[in-house]
Each structure stands twice: as structure tokens, then as C-alpha cells.
Amino acid sequence: MLRKLFLTLVMLALVSAFAVSAQDEAQYAGLDMDLSGINIKMANIGGGQYEVMYDAISIFEEATGATVEIVALLDGFSMDQKLKVDFATGAADYDVAWDHTSFVAQYTPFLLPLQDYFSEDELAPFSPAILDAATIDGNLYLIPRHADVSPIHYRKDLYEDEAIAAAYMDATGEALTVPTTLEQIDRQARFFVENGHSTLGYTLAGKEEALTGRFYEMHFASGGSLFDENYEPAFNDEIGVAVAELLASWYADGVIPSDTTSLLWDGVAQYFCNNDVAIKLEWYGWYAYFQDADSCAVAGNFGLARGFTGLSVGGDAVRPSGWAGAHAFSVPATAPNPQAGVQLIKFLSSERVAYEEALLGFLPTRGDVWDRVIADASDAENPLDRERLELARIQVGEDFKTPPLIAEWIPFSNIFYPHLQAIILGDVGAQEGLDAAAAETREMMADAGYY
């Protein structure tokens, strides 16, 4: 009798231990519906680390009985073009589509509002700032996958060298500390280049939406706004001119690379990887690459800090930079199996899949996943692993700022960035170039019916 009681107690203990451990593990979602015989089509972003997530789809297929067919794997800009053409021609016959907070405003007439498909409990873990960016005219069009925002990356050797610090003090009268303002960055970057401590002082992507976004970020960090409340262009104000002049002077003085205007994210990251750049804003997603000593000379030699505040010309309105966005999933309005598509999105954005993707270095959009990855990093060999995550969580929570959520964001960018390039290259003055961009933008916005 006692033996039986003992065995029962042991069994109970084992079952409860298993239950606790199961609860402690991140959970999948979206597996609670029988989707046998349904073929879910998905058009998604592809390349490199993005595709690792799709390995988990076999679990979804096994649990629900559905099959998932990936009909497109393209980079973000190519996906944007595909979606536009497919939506226009009615060819968006897929149930799940890649989407992004920067692009979604263009697609809203062609997307299924998702608020009725997700309960409050299901949405609760996601960052409110990102859900706000995913909601247009009261409709939720995106379920976030992962977020991105940029901290300052700086070379540690430059800030730990006492001789450099002393020389900087002599030259400027201020201590050499990790910069917190755009003006400090300007002074330090110039100092490092002029005195031969670093080949380059700063870098930034110099074309397409990447350049427009970086200007937007510097402009709003300095207290500006691209458009006023009536959507009239406002970027050619005093702040905009100051930012554009700063960029032009950096180019003229060799602070930024001579091929800045042909650089996108990979080219910019390459310069920092080579240990050639003193300071820069960079997306968190490049962290694993920079820390790979086999690929990058800067591995182990860089630190991270919160985004800079803008130029003092903005007065009290200056604030931290934080141009941000989130990769996400949407359901086209023409999806043959919208409910099945929603189930797949619930699975792909679940705590478990999001956690596994966060382990690759992507920034989570869910609070529960943040807790897990920060706890995981607490005993990391490199303390920067944990600092990075804590800093990122602050930036995603407090500094996350998307571009204007208007369908004209990309057409605006295509008007704006060539003018800014012309200013940077010295082809035109800052005021003249921004005024020309504002005139073209106004015409485009008028055509779109804003005024």
C-alpha cells in the first residue's frame, strides 16, 4: 500500500514537473484548426537569415493537415514591386504576403483587415508602438514578425585610447565620450579623420529609401517633420537645410565615403566591418555579422549606444533618433483561404517561432520573447550581447518611429533622394535642392488628392 502511494506521488511529481517545464517553454499558436486538404500559398521575403523561419512550417503542416506553398522568395524592394503588380492585376492569389510598416499604406485597399481574426489576448504580447504602425484608419493590416531600429555603433579602441582622448580635449575642450548628439558626432567624426585615427568618421546608406529614411531620422531627431498637418512639404525648413548641409560637408571633407551615394545597407556595413569607420547608426540586425571575427576586423571592437538626438537648431524639440520599421505578414483581400492564412500567420508570429527567429539576431516584436532572449543573454560570454538586447528593447519601446504612414511614402522617396544626393555631391545648394524637392513633392501630393 505504501509502495503504491509512493509510486503515485512520484508519478504526480513527474507529471507536474513536466507540466511546469512545458509551460516554461515558448509555445506555438495557430495549430488548433483542422485545415486538412487546404493548400496555403505564401509570398515571402527571402535571402539569408530570413528563410530560417520557414523551416518551422513543417510543424504547422503536420499539426493542421494543411500544405504550405511558398510562391515567391524575393528581397523586400522586389516584393514591394511584385505586390503592387499582383494587386493591380488581381493576381494576388496567395493567402499570406510579406509586408512592412514602411510599405503597408500603399496596399491597404488590397488587404484584409485582421482585427476580427485576432483576439485581444493574441495581440496583447505585441509591442503597442508596432501595432499602432500596423493600424491604418482603425484597421489592423499587419501582424509583426520582427522589428528593426538603429543604435549608434562606435569603435571602442578610439574611445579607450588615452592619447586620443587627451588630443581631443586639447582640440575641442570637451571630454571624448560616446556621442549622444548629432553635433558631438560631427565634431568627433571630423577629429578622428583629420588626425588619422580612422579612415572614415561616419557612414550612411546614400540612395533610395535608405537615404530618405536617414534624412528623415536626422530631421525629426532635430525637431523637424517631413510634412505639416496638411501634408504640405516641410522638410525644406531651417532644420532640413541644416541637416542637408551637414551631410554635404561630411562628403566634401571626406568624413563619409566617396561612394556614399551608391551605398545601400550592405555597402555601409562593409565599411564598418573593415574597421574603417569611427561612428555610425546601424540596424541591430547586423550584429552577428560584425561580431564574426572571421569576417570582420571590427569584431570585439565596437560598442552600442542609443540613437543620437538631433541638431540644436531644433531647440527644445530635439529627440532621440529612431527611424524604425517592422517586417510583418498580411493577408491579401483576394486570398482564396483567408482563415487558413490567418492560422499560418498566428503560427509564424507565435512566441515559439518568434523566439527561435530572435535567437538568430532579429529584434522581437513580442514582450514575452524579449523576456526570454534577455534572460538567455544574462550569462552570455560577451556582455554586449545582453546590453544590446536591453538597449534595443528601450529603443523599440520608446524611440520606434515609422515614416509617415501614407501610400505616397515610396513615390515621395523617389522624388526626394536624388535631390538630396545632388546636395551631398555638391551639385546644388541645400536650400535650392530641398526647395526643388518640395515643389515636386507638392505636385505629386496634389495629384494624389491631398489638397
Binding site: 514591386q81 503592387k84 503588380v85 493591380a88 540612395k207 565615403p257 561612394d259 523617389n414 536624388p418 545632388a422
Partner: protein, 318 residues
């Protein structure tokens, strides 16, 4: 069936029969090609006419209701383009790019074809090697040359640094500076286009009559004189065909430009087709993009007509 004068039907009836046969014969070939004509009209004609219609509307890809023709604004896209500085700039860039690329390609191809025509051993191997650039997709050629001319990690700058011609901090921004951006695209384009032109000119050279050259040799003509006064004029029809094909092909420059500079920076290398893509697809202004496409096609047709007139003249002279 043709009736002859000995026909028992008599001359009048025979003539009528001939007439009927002609009519039948006249219709029959057309009937045979009718399915192909219908297919071509559907596949080529309809899209062309549709895009012409779209060019008169304010159609935007993501605004289906904007596909709406009104007489009042029918010509607005065309007016807008004629007042668009970027359009004129991209047209000028395309003309410069076309003129330099086609002419340099022609000179180099002519030289290569004359050298190849004189090779007696291993000519087939050389011809095969010459065709290697044709085997690459333009997008790959663009990527390759973008890497060659990359300021930071590119082959050209690293070579110049290694031989001491430039300093590490003075890297040349090949894809950015004026006129280097355009020059790098022209180099890539010439590399890709020389083989086709050379093959056409080589075929022409090998088909020239040998008697003329023998007579010239007897008269003591030098190599240059033979080329200048015999080869070059006799190759004129081949030259015009090669130039026409290459011009139309190069004028459609898109892949290489898109990959190497994407029309930038600051529109410095913007061409017609990169601008059309930007307008029609990226900015979703399909009506405006269609209007620009039609202007471009119209210019191309004029250009082709000019070249064909030159070709006819050259054949008459020959």
C-alpha cells in the same frame, strides 16, 4: 491551276479561270497565315494598343478607378513629360550613352573582325572565346562590373592602390563621379556587346569577293588602302545591320544600368528605361510610364527608319 491557250474552254473562259485562280491563290496564302496574324494581334497588338490607351489616362497601379479616360486630361501625361527636366535629362543621357557605346563598339568590333579574319590557325577557338560575354545575362555583367568599380573593395581601386597610383584614402568613386559613372556603364556595355557586332562584321568580311583584293594587290595597294577603299565600303550593309541591331538593343539599356548605378547618383546616369520603370512600377504611375514608353518607342522607330534608309543606300552603292 493555270489554263493555257489550247484549253477547250476558249480564251475568255480561260481568262476568267485564271482570274478566279488568282483570287483563290491570293486568298489562300492569307488564310494560311491568318491564325498566326490573329495570335500576333492578340499577343502583341492588343497590349500595344492597350498601353497606348493607358498612356492617355492618369492610371496608377494601386488605384483601379484611375484607369479612366477623359478628353480633358488625355494629353496631360505627355504634357507633363515634355515639361519634365528628368525626362529630358534621361533622354540626353541615353543618347550620349548610345552614341558613345555604339560607336566605340563598332570601331573595336571592326578591328577585332579584321584581325580574326586573318587568323589561319585556331580561328574557331578564338571565335568561341569571343562569344563568351554573350553567354552572361546582362544582370550578371552589371554585378561583375559593379564589383570591379566598387570604391571600397573593388578590383580596379585595389589594383591602383597596390601599384601606388592612388592612396587608400583617395579611393576613386567610379560609380559616382562625373563622368566616371557613365564611363563605367559604357565599358560594361561595350564588353557585353562587342561579340555580336564582331560576329556580324566577321561574317561580312569573310563573304567579300577575293578578286577585288587580288586586283588591289596587283595595283600595289597597302593594307590600310585595301581596308579603307574596299573592305569598309563593301561592309557597309553589314555595318548598318549591326549598328541598327546594337543601337536598338543598347537603347533599351536597363539591367546593367539598374545594377551598376540605378540611374544615380542624383540622376547622373538616369536612362529612359530606368526612369520609365521608376515611374510605372516603383511610383505606380502606370499612365505616365506608358506615355514615356510610347515617346521612347516613337523615337526608336524614327531612328530605325533612318538607319534602314542608310542601309538601302549602301546596298544600292554596292
Amino acid at each position: 491551276m493555270v489554263a493555257n491557250s489550247n484549253s477547250p474552254l476558249g480564251k475568255g473562259a480561260a481568262a476568267r479561270l485564271v482570274e478566279v485562280s488568282r483570287i483563290e491563290a491570293g486568298f489562300f496564302p492569307f488564310a494560311l497565315i491568318l491564325p498566326a496574324v490573329i495570335l500576333i494581334l492578340l499577343v502583341v497588338g492588343f497590349p500595344l494598343l492597350y498601353s497606348l490607351y493607358v498612356s492617355f489616362t492618369p492610371y496608377e497601379l494601386l488605384k483601379p478607378n484611375s484607369l479612366n479616360f477623359t478628353v480633358a486630361r488625355a494629353l496631360r501625361n505627355y504634357q507633363k513629360l515634355l515639361n519634365d527636366d528628368i525626362f529630358w535629362r534621361s533622354l540626353l543621357n541615353t543618347i550620349v550613352f548610345l552614341a558613345v557605346t555604339v560607336n566605340l563598339s563598332y570601331v573595336l568590333s571592326m578591328a577585332l573582325s579584321q584581325l580574326l579574319a586573318r587568323v589561319t590557325v585556331g580561328q574557331s577557338v578564338l571565335r568561341t572565346l569571343l562569344m563568351v560575354p554573350m553567354m552572361f545575362a546582362p544582370i550578371l555583367v552589371g554585378m561583375q562590373f559593379r564589383w570591379f568599380f566598387n570604391a571600397n573593395v573593388g578590383l580596379v581601386n585595389n589594383f591602383l592602390i597596390s601599384v601606388g597610383l592612388i592612396q587608400e584614402q583617395g579611393q576613386i568613386a567610379w560609380l559616382v563621379d562625373v563622368p566616371l559613372g557613365m564611363i563605367t556603364i559604357i565599358i560594361a556595355s561595350i564588353w557585353m556587346n562587342i561579340p555580336v557586332m564582331t560576329i556580324i562584321l566577321l561574317a561580312g568580311t569573310l563573304s567579300l569577293p577575293t578578286e577585288t583584293f587580288e586586283a588591289a594587290e596587283v595595283d600595289g595597294a597597302s593594307g590600310w588602302q585595301k581596308f579603307r577603299f574596299i573592305t569598309f565600303p563593301l561592309l557597309a550593309p553589314f555595318s548598318y545591320i549591326a549598328l541598327t541591331i546594337m543601337s536598338l538593343d543598347i537603347a533599351r539599356a536597363f539591367d546593367i544600368v539598374r545594377i551598376m548605378t540605378d540611374g544615380g547618383p542624383a540622376r547622373r546616369t538616369e536612362m529612359l528605361w530606368t526612369y520609365i520603370t521608376r515611374l510605372a512600377i516603383e511610383d505606380t504611375k502606370f499612365g505616365l510610364g506608358s506615355a514615356m514608353s510610347w515617346i521612347t518607342v516613337f523615337l526608336s522607330v524614327l531612328f530605325t527608319l533612318y538607319f534602314f534608309r542608310q542601309l538601302v543606300k549602301a546596298r544600292i552603292v554596292r
